[in-house]
Amino acid sequence: MSKYETQEIQQEALRILDEYDINRVQEGLRVDDPLEGIVFIQNVGEISKNVTVVAKSTVVDGDITSTSPLAIRGTVNGNIITTSDIGINGLINGDIEAENIDFSHAAIKGNSKAVRSVNLGSQSVVIGDISGNKVTIDGKVKGNVLAVNSLYFKSSALMVGSVTAGGISTEDGSRINASITLTNKESEGFDDSEFDLEV
């Protein structure tokens, strides 16, 4: 190799090193178009550090387990378990377990179980069972609903299946075709004497 060629290669190597300098990327400076994107998503990562986001165009084929909040806007074909909250604005083919579950424009084929509350928005459909301490339904459900404490059907609710709840309230407009079992103490412990007619 001639001296000229060696120098040329060294200069080329230095140029490449400058062009893809990691320090410049870390400082957030524009180095190259693809790397600019990396800087951009690094910033986004800082903002949503503890939240798992399944973005709109994202598909997960498998189970998700987490101890932090989840925001599902895409599709998950698998079960989701988190000890924190979950907000769903996408498609789930699988079971869900969380502290609180909020469905908004969601389609679920599977069972949903919350330690505390389940909120099903008016544009959401669930084919499967729902259980929670407090359940609010303004969307469509085909399945069994268990609300340990209270169950509230809002005006857009459509429910087919069976309902077990501590207490139930319904708004005008809600459509319910379900067998209903109340488990609250007020509905137990009565006897026939309650029905004595004293005119």
């Binding site: 080329e12 190597a13 230095l14 490449i16 090193l17 893809y20 990691i22 990327v25 190259d32 693809p34 790397l35 994107g37 990396i38 951009f40 998503i41 690094q42 986004v44 990562g45 949503s48 550090k49 503890n50 939240v51 798992t52 986001v53 399944v54 973005a55 709109k56 165009s57 994202t58 598909v59 997960v60 084929d61 498998g62 189970d63 998700i64 387990t65 987490s66 101890t67 932090s68 989840l70 895409g74 599709t75 074909n77 698998g78 988190t82 498609l91 083919n93 389609a107 084929k109 459909v125």
Partner: protein
């Protein structure tokens, strides 16, 4: 199409060139306390701070600070995880940060290594090994640049 039917347009590693007019603003995040046992694919960017035991496919860029055990396909990739076991295909650039041990083969346009790569590197453009870089594997590249101190244990082929 039924509501539960899967959309077919999600990023698959077809090798097609992304149009320069594409602006990807969507970012998916797998947080550090999250584990996915299966594959994840997206048309947007992706940040993996947690564990993915499966394949990862991103039409946009990918930042890997967690663990991925499978194949990775993306536009550009920044790896800053202590250890990762994944084969990588990147349409554009790959950066392996210092302190990272990447076990797997890498196919990309350009790569800058500051950490350790255990596997073969194939780059259609340039391979840059910074002073802290260690590569235990073969390198095929159009151009290669090495800083003083970089270690390369393998064969080099210039194409």
């Amino acid at each position: 199409m039924g509501i539960f039917e899967e959309k077919k347009s999600i990023a698959e590693p077809t090798g097609e060139v992304k149009m320069s007019t594409d602006i990807i603003s969507e970012v998916a995040v797998v947080s550090s306390s999250t584990k996915i046992e299966g594959n994840i694919r997206t048309d947007g960017h992706l940040i993996v701070n947690g564990d993915v035991q499966g394949n990862v496919s991103s039409r946009g860029n990918l930042i890997l600070t967690g663990n991925a055990f499978g194949e990775i396909y993306c536009e550009s990739l920044l790896v800053e995880t202590p250890e990762s076991n994944a084969d990588i295909i990147a349409e554009q650039n790959v950066i392996v940060k210092e302190g990272t041990v990447l076990k797997g083969n890498v196919h990309c346009k350009n790569i800058t290594v500051l950490g350790t790569v255990v596997g073969d590197i194939t780059a259609t453009g340039s391979v840059v090994l910074k002073a802290t870089a260690v590569v235990n594997g073969n390198v095929i590249a159009k151009r290669i640049g090495m800083e003083n101190g970089a270690k390369l244990n393998g064969a080099v082929e210039m194409k």
